[in-house]
């Protein structure tokens, strides 16, 4: 029983940060129809910035709680600026091209970001462990967990709810949904689609970077971080059905639980477990679990 609970809790912890990353990816795909390969780079960017801020704060002798809040604020600010600039300065030039071409544009951004992070932060692993002790250790049904890990679960649930609420219950969300549903019609109704694109992309980058910041205290930041994350979040959004918030949640849960289960039960399968699930889901539902219904144009 305890063993089972361990798997579920580990899976939930995994799923929580993966969900935030995947949410950004699915939002960008939903609005801009771009499968953003550079998404993992934004995750890495967030993690690196968080590490820098946390180390700076700790060096001043301030408590780790200040570091935690400061890193989230810094990452949110920088990431949304980076997202906005990238969309307005670069992606804008490629709209209307083939989806594979747009994919390659983001691949180029991924390559560029790889070297930029290496230039700024070097190739040696860096750490930001101070906030990890922030919430102490918690006992949960006879199991001991680092509080920080467990706190991630409600945080990501709250982020997910905020995005869902924003999309479905606010005016801005309705406008975004209108753009997703029918761009031409939205333009003719006076929606500034350009701005919606920029906001959605900035939000996507923000979510990826935020997830990076939240996991930064748990991991070591080093090159290769981004390509691992991108492949995981791709799997999640593809399982869930591209562009769907619910899909991202279910996908993240599936991938998180599967990873945790394979770590505990079959360590040798960990690497390809996710792809097996993805291939299995696609075999039965070729467009993912939560596919948006679309009229077929002939």
């Amino acid at each position: 029983m305890n063993f089972f609970l361990t798997i579920v809790l580990d899976g939930l912890i995994q799923a929580s940060w993966l969900f935030v990353v995947a949410l950004g990816l699915t939002l960008v795909f939903g609005v801009l129809k771009i499968l953003n390969i550079a998404h993992g780079s934004f995750y890495a960017l967030g993690a690196y910035i968080a590490a820098t801020v946390v180390t700076m704060i700790a060096a001043r002798g301030l408590p780790p709680s200040v570091g935690f809040v400061a890193m989230l604020l810094a990452v949110a600010l920088i990431a949304s600026a980076v997202g906005w600039l990238l969309e307005r300065g670069l992606l804008k030039m490629f709209y209307g091209r083939d989806e594979v071409v747009l994919l390659l544009v983001t691949y180029a951004v991924f390559l560029i970001m790889e070297d930029v992070t290496k230039l700024i932060w070097g190739v040696n692993p860096i750490y930001a462990t101070q906030p990890y002790e922030l919430f102490g250790n918690l006992e949960f049904a006879g199991l001991y967990y680092v509080g920080y890990d467990l706190v991630l679960i409600p945080i990501s649930a709250a982020i997910g709810f905020a995005i869902w609420f924003g999309l479905n219950r606010t005016v801005i969300g309705k406008i975004v949904l209108a753009v997703i549903h029918n761009e031409e019609m939205s333009v003719s109704m006076g929606v500034r689609v350009n701005r919606v694109y920029a906001i959605a992309f900035a939000f996507g980058v923000l979510l990826a970077a935020l997830a990076g910041a939240l996991t930064a205290p748990k991991i070591s930041m080093q090159p290769g971080l981004s390509s691992d994350v991108i492949i995981l979040s791709f799997a999640i959004v593809v399982i869930g059905g591209l562009g769907s918030v619910e899909g991202a949640a279910v996908g993240a849960l599936l991938v998180g639980l599967a990873r945790a289960a394979s770590v505990h039960l079959m360590p040798q399968a960990e690497l390809f477990m996710i792809y097996l699930i993805m291939a299995a889901v696609l075999m039965f539902r070729p467009e993912g679990l939560f596919k948006r219904e679309m009229a077929r144009r002939i």
Partner: protein, 328 residues
């Protein structure tokens, strides 16, 4: 076929000329050109497939299947002949492609790409965990020979590899050109435009995609054999997604109008990579990314559009539209 198209015999002459040109090239260009030619081969497969509107992000699967197939057979039975190795590689890739192609043909767009990527990553995971195959370190393979001759002089060995890869890739290119001009090749283009209309015409879009997929897998398998011969080492990196990504990279740089463009794009990529590696060792990915963005921005139809202007565009439009017209 119009008058302006190159006759296959002229293309064969070109391949022979390029092969002989290798005699006067300096050694470092020779190995660069070998890599470029074998990358062009796999990217050519992606172009073949992309004409149906589907792009595979998992060509590394067939690349690795070809490479591992050849490596295992070479080590078990002492098969060192370069040509035989290429055939074995192509067969390994092709067989796998025949199995996977029909399964995957019903997907389209992003999902096609993602599923191919997933399959190749499953393969990557299996390879990393298989200790019998050397796990993540892979294993070494002996030097290839040709028709019973072994090459100890490095320059001769490099030239042999260059010659074999240029000739094989060249003939694959000629075959692809003939395929593109054939009825089947044009039907493939029609699948990309509108697969429903193709079905109404009584052709099976799935079948067309499966066949193109198998052809791409054959090219990828042969390319894996070349990569193995050039490095004399194989590891799971062959199946990793960034490997596959680079082949798509070349295919998109080239555009799908011209076979020759694939070779030029592959060579250009290798040159950019090795020069930036040489002069900017820490920022070569940065240079590569900017180069890619530049090409996509300024040559929207790929490098091929530098010499294939509107002529080809008009012809394709003329060839495809009667089919569309009949369906509507």
């Amino acid at each position: 076929m119009t008058r302006k198209d190159l006759h296959p015999l002229i293309m064969i002459a070109l391949v022979v000329a390029v092969t002989l040109f290798g005699r006067v090239l300096p050694t470092w260009t020779l190995s660069l050109a070998t890599v470029a030619a074998s990358n062009a081969l796999i990217s050519l497969g992606i172009v073949v497939l992309a004409r149906t509107g589907n792009v595979s992000f998992g060509q590394g699967l067939f690349f690795a299947a070809g490479g591992y197939g050849v490596a295992l057979i070479a080590n078990a039975w002492g098969l060192t002949d370069a040509v035989a190795q290429v055939i074995v590689g192509a067969a390994c890739g092709g067989l796998l492609g025949l199995v996977i192609g029909p399964l995957i043909a019903r997907y389209s767009g992003i999902f096609f790409g993602m599923l191919t990527l997933a399959l190749s990553m499953v393969f990557y995971g299996v390879l990393v965990k298989t200790t019998a195959l050397g796990g993540s370190d892979g294993f070494n393979v002996g030097r290839p020979s040709l028709f019973g001759m072994s090459f100890t002089d490095p320059r001769e060995a490099d030239f042999m590899l260059y010659a074999v890869s240029v000739i094989v890739t060249g003939f694959a290119g000629i075959a692809a050109t003939i395929l593109f001009r054939s009825e089947f090749g044009l039907a493939s283009l029609a699948v990309r435009e509108n697969n429903l209309r193709v079905e109404y015409l009584g052709l099976s879009a799935n079948r067309i995609i499966s066949i193109n997929f198998a052809i791409a897998a054959v090219f990828a398998g042969a390319s894996g054999a070349f990569a193995l011969m050039a490095q004399r080492h194989i590891d799971p990196q062959f199946a990793y997604w960034t490997t596959s990504g680079e082949f798509v990279f070349v295919a998109v740089l080239a555009g799908n109008q011209s076979v020759a463009a694939v070779f030029v794009a592959s060579m250009a990529l290798e040159l950019v990579r090795s020069f930036s590696n040489l002069y900017l060792p820490n920022t070569w990915q940065l240079v590569l990314g900017i180069f890619l963005l530049g090409v996509i921005l300024f040559l929207p139809r790929g490098i091929g559009s530098l010499w294939i202007k509107d002529r080809r565009k008009r012809r394709v439009a003329a060839d495809v539209s009667p089919a569309g017209g009949a369906a509507s």
